[in-house]
Amino acid sequence: MSNFDINLFNEKLMPAFRESTREAFETMAMTSIEIGAAIPKQKGQPEGAISGTIGISGSVQATAAPICGNVSLIFEKNTVERIFKAMTGMGPDETVNADELKDVVGELANMVAGGAKSKTQGNGVDFNISLPTVVVGEKHHLEMPSNTKSFVVPLKANSDTFFLELSFS
């Protein structure tokens, strides 16, 4: 059975993740992003070529209710290449290798989760974050257990669309 609390999600978790996502991309990649509204995840969506996931585990301070979930960033390969080049100052014609793509996706997921952790800690929610896991594969999507509530937030930077996915059990 899920312990998911939609009010907690809407009032504390989602605002923290939105803000940390904006900070990560705008500070490190100097890329302005548009953050869409969170929508319930549809089976098999969203698809991407590379995703980074951080596990989170903790509790609500006032009630000690547990919080367990994942935060993921899901990209197409070309999008990650452009973000990596913006972060590192690499030239547009230089080649980004596969390890660099995996690394930057894991690090961005880490910054989004870590930033949200800091913001919620002062707002009644404590959680720890895991090291990142990165999945590579054309048109893959993330599957979550049936007792998980998952939401997808579309993100847009210039002409690129990518996704923040939040899942809580």
């Binding site: 990560a24 500070t27 590192t88 952790k117 800091s118």
Partner: protein, 126 residues
Amino acid sequence: MADIKILVADDSSTMRRILKQTLSRIGFNDVTEAADGADAFAKCQAAQFDCILTDWNMPEMDGLELAIKVRAMPNYANVPIMMITTEGGKQDVIEALTQGVNQYIVKPFNQDVLQAKMAELLKPKA
């Protein structure tokens, strides 16, 4: 500043690259990279660095354990250590500072923040 030997420990090659580039832009060019805490500790045993910049969450050995182990080495007792991490909670900062870390930057960060924190880190003690 050219002669200041800096050790940068982060398991993200992207972050090491960004740190190395940013440090170079603000005048620090002698930078050695370590891929995790264990690698950084081995490099501290093999050479003397003037300051250490470390991530917190790393495989093998994390940045906090690195700071504790390095501080126990007589030749590193007073070497400035800065944590550069996503762990930005108040308790995290207090724990790191209690364990011998001198300065703290929460990722994401920009060049101005790194420059200001480096100046603080390397300021001669009164």
